[in-house]
């Protein structure tokens, strides 16, 4: 049996935990959920672990970044994250992530679906699985919301209703969720009543389950437009104190929106912050993006703490892969899927600690290697989802949320 251990802050380094068999029957039967919601900040492009949160390597690997202390002894970060440095007591740093994909589209696909991309099927994203498994009749908001410009979030072979509801821009909110400005309420009502009569008439001779699905989805869309929870999408409604925690950058506002949605019970919110693919001029380009993450994530952690939501919300910071330990002649770093870094916060995670290592030369994940599928299994397990549950694709092939990934339960206290 392989021993898995935590690397605690300095004084506790080397102390090991008992091995936990993540694939036991107990896990298969699920557990009492410790997390209600997930906020997944996805850093597409590939975050450089050696210029952010993995400082436990040779000095040469860190290159031009400077190491600074955090508010936890023994947890150090790069100088690009001064604000987060004061919040590291809320975060668990995982330095031993490993993926089998080294190109962006495939890497992102693997991270978000747990499967390798194939040309015969599209797998559902984690958010679609979570939404499908946890949605109940009482929910007035969709349980998979994606914030940001990237591709929204696929339902894969699940029906389209499980795809992400996209919010491309926090100032405009959900596209077309409001009536056209020129159409007054009474006029809109009039239009709907004409539509009702036309559809009712058409249904008599031509009604099928497909035409009725449309009628139902119009009803659902109207319910959504008129939902009292819809104001969650309007950041102007946030109270001054919470709003004041955030700066005006779009990523920070996206984090605020994610916090608001989780407060309303949305199960999975993906916030995408792209642009990390610095093959050249890394140290010229990184600071601005790192600044966004530093501010936005810090404010979000404070927001969730203030609202007492951090205990029930698992905050995940992930990326498709990391960067090479060596800086290339163009002063950039190339792709490196073996030993990259992700962060977790909330929902009882062992915060203020570092889990897993890379070798000192930064070439490969060393202790407590965490495969992408295990990472996703851990998230789902914390939500109380049965990892053994299978869903069949249209051609009858069975798939699981995290493939054969196993939950790493020892990440939680």
């Amino acid at each position: 049996m392989k021993r898995r251990k935590f690397i605690y802050s300095v004084g506790m380094t080397g102390m090991s935990l008992p091995f936990l068999n993540a694939n036991s029957a107990a896990a298969a039967a699920g557990q009492a959920p410790k997390a209600r919601s997930v906020i997944n900040i996805f850093l597409s492009g590939g975050l450089s672990q050696y210029d952010s949160f993995n400082m436990d390597v040779d000095k040469a690997v860190i290159a031009d970044s400077k190491i600074i202390k955090s508010n936890v002894d023994g947890v150090r970060v790069s100088h690009y994250f001064p604000t987060l440095a004061q919040q590291m007591d809320k975060l668990l740093v995982i330095n031993s992530m490993k993926s089998n994909q080294g190109a962006h589209p495939a890497g992102i696909y693997k991270m978000l679906t747990s499967y390798d991309p194939r040309s015969s099927i599209t797998h559902p994203e984690l958010g679609a699985w979570i939404s499908k498994r946890l949605t109940t009749n009482q929910d007035s908001l969709p349980n998979f919301v994606s914030i940001g410009k990237g591709s929204a979030g696929t339902a894969g072979f699940f029906p389209g209703q499980w795809a992400a509801l996209p919010v491309r821009n926090t100032s405009t909110g959900i596209d077309f969720v409001n009536r056209n400005a020129a159409v007054k309420k009474a006029k809109f009502k009039k239009r709907l009543s004409i539509l009702d009569s036309l559809n009712g008439d058409f249904d008599q001779e031509h009604g099928t389950k497909d035409t009725r699905a449309y009628v139902d989805t119009y009803k659902g869309s109207l319910k959504f437009m008129n939902s009292k929870d819809i104001d969650a999408f309007d950041l102007e409604n946030e109270n001054k104190y919470i709003a004041g925690l955030y700066d005006k950058q779009e990523f920070s506002r996206s984090c605020m929106l994610a916090g608001r949605l989780v407060e309303r019970g949305v199960r999975y919110v993906k916030v995408e912050l792209g642009g990390w693919d610095y093959h050249d001029d890394l140290y010229g380009k990184l600071p601005s993006n790192a600044g966004k993450l530093d501010k936005g994530l810090s404010s979000l952690l404070t927001h969730l703490t203030e609202k007492s939501l951090l205990d029930s919300t698992l905050v995940v910071v992930s990326t498709e892969f990391g960067r090479k330990p060596g800086v290339n002649p163009n002063k950039g770093r190339d792709h490196h899927p073996d030993g990259f870094t992700c962060l977790l916060a909330g929902a009882g995670v062992k915060a203020g600690q570092i889990y897993g290592t890379t070798t000192k030369d930064g070439q490969t994940a060393a202790d407590d290697v965490l495969d992408v599928t295990d990472f996703n299994a851990t998230i789902a397990w914390r939500l109380g989802i049965d990892l053994a549950h299978e869903e069949k694709s249209p051609s009858g092939r069975p798939f699981k949320l995290a493939d054969d990934g196993e939950a790493r339960k020892e990440l939680f206290a």
């Binding site: 190109a103 962006h104 589209p105 495939a106 040309s119 015969s120 099927i121 599209t122 969709p142 029906p159 389209g160 209703q161 795809a163 509801l165 996209p166 959900i174 596209d175 077309f176 969720v177 409001n178 009536r179 056209n180 020129a182 159409v183 006029k187 009039k190 239009r191 004409i194 539509l195 009569s197 036309l198 559809n199 008439d201 058409f202 249904d203 001779e205 031509h206 009604g207 099928t208 497909d210 035409t211 699905a213 449309y214 009628v215 139902d216 989805t217 119009y218 659902g220 869309s221 959504f224 437009m225 093959h279 050249d280 001029d281 002649p329 163009n330 950039g332 051609s395 009858g396 092939r397």
Partner: protein
Amino acid sequence: MNDGKRTIIACLLTLALSPILTSAAFAQPAAILEHAQQIDQLVARQLKQVGQERRPGIDDYTFCRRVYLDAVGRIPTIDELDNFIADQQADKRSRLICKLLSSKGYSSHWYNYWADLFRVKYVGDKLHHPGNYSEWIKEALRSNKPYDQMAHELINASGPLYKPGNGATGFYAREPMPLDHLANSVKTFLGLSIECAQCHDHPFDDWTQKDFYKLAAFSSKTHLRVDPTPDLEKKKYARDRKILKNKSFDEWIVYRESLRVKHAAIYGNGTGFMRLPHDYQYEDGKPFDAMEADVLFGKMPKLDHKLTKANIDALRKNNFGPQINSRESLADWMVSAENPMFTKSVVNRLWRQVMGTELVGPLGGLTQDAMGDHPELTQQLIAIMKATDYDLKNFLSVLFNSKTYQSKSLALNADAPDYLLDGPIVRRISAEVIVDSFLSLKTETPDRYVATEFRWDGFTHFYDQSQEMGVKDFVKYSTNGPGRGAFQNRVENQARKRNGAVGPKHLWRVSSYGKADRGHDVAMLLGKSDRDLIDGANAEPNIPQILYLMNGDLEHEITTHPKAYLHRKLDGAIRPDKRMEIIWKAILGRLPKESEKPLFSNDQDDLIWALLNSNEFRFIR
């Protein structure tokens, strides 16, 4: 019947003057109507056997809307509808079919179909620019290339990816892995799902993993290479590549990408041998055993083997023997008229496109012996496809001319009688057809800007130029050239200029949108295929889609836009009943019913909004 025959001959005469149609399409008009009759007779016989009534025929309004949607992918404009209704000739339906199948709208609509099936899209990491591939499909539509020939060229394509006219190579380049490519080819052209057998014996079908590997032997050692061959690289390009890499990342990228346009190619034409995978688990073979090519069923083509299986077994395990052009034999077998699946699969597909439901079974999940609920009809359609020499326009013409097609559509619900493949079913129109139908309301010329007229040839043009370019020229191009990221834009902008006026974007058919995969947000919302998977489109409602239809741009583009074609038609009409008639004809393709007349009193824009949002608009009836 005689009238009908004259019709198509008359149509043929007009077409002779048109440069678009040079193929033998419509050369046997009598045969087309005869084939349509054969379908109708079989359907009638089947109905009689079970004592079910024949469905009533449809009126001219319903026919006109339906055939526009199915043949050219949009609703008729109000003028087109009026002209058809006003036509007093008995053969007007046949003539309309003929006209539509010869129009630009046909190319636009069916481009969407084939580009989806063949999954034309960017594959970012490997810089597969789909322009040349897309151009190949457009050319096939322009020349009405027979379907079996299309399939053969796609399966057997090799050589440079961006060489003008060689775009069929895009089909192979579409897949990163050869075995996936084989499974997808079989699904595309034979309608069989054999992908499970890549890794294990098929759980509920006949195919074993060994069968799969024997089939894969035909195309073994075929591969896409985007960079120059190692030889060429070493001799010519490597030195400067290294210098550029250390000098400037941007210049290095332009060097790499511009070289790829010249050198990307499909290599290899098959060795006729394959080896079992390293983890082969069955008793009938060992890992790395040599497998001689064999077909899944039917007649095995003769291969020109230079070595025997024993010879190959004696070689190192990554050696599959010399190339013997066995991939061409695979193509021959796949598209052969004797291949029981090839023709069955395509008639199954086209029947579904036109009638809304499968003739034989799931498009990509047929079984070898499946013949559908009406085997004689399937048999007959296979015979018709063969008799028309896989001419797609002729085959569609047969379907459209049949009484079966021109009968009342059936709503498949609990109250429906048994469905006996006796006509179309009520179904939602595709995403592209919905969006293109909006065009028929915005402009009187909705087919003006279609994909098939636009030559997306930036890369092929650069390929031509690059034939004269030596290593120094590539270095110069990379150093003084467009810069990283702009390389592709530059060649595409040049292509755009060569194309001349392409019109305002809001008047393009969906097929014209450049990148084709992510090109049209509204179409994506409505379920357009992203072309990752075969048959990846869907017709389902979802909340963002409905929000768009209720509150989106349509308000400004059609519902209240004074310059929209619909409103210009309304300008002259004063009486409310006349206005209502125009709106109903333009959007629903019919006159208002007596029972709908109380709606007269509503505001015009409210009526337009309601009709655009109605099920009747987005379903074919």
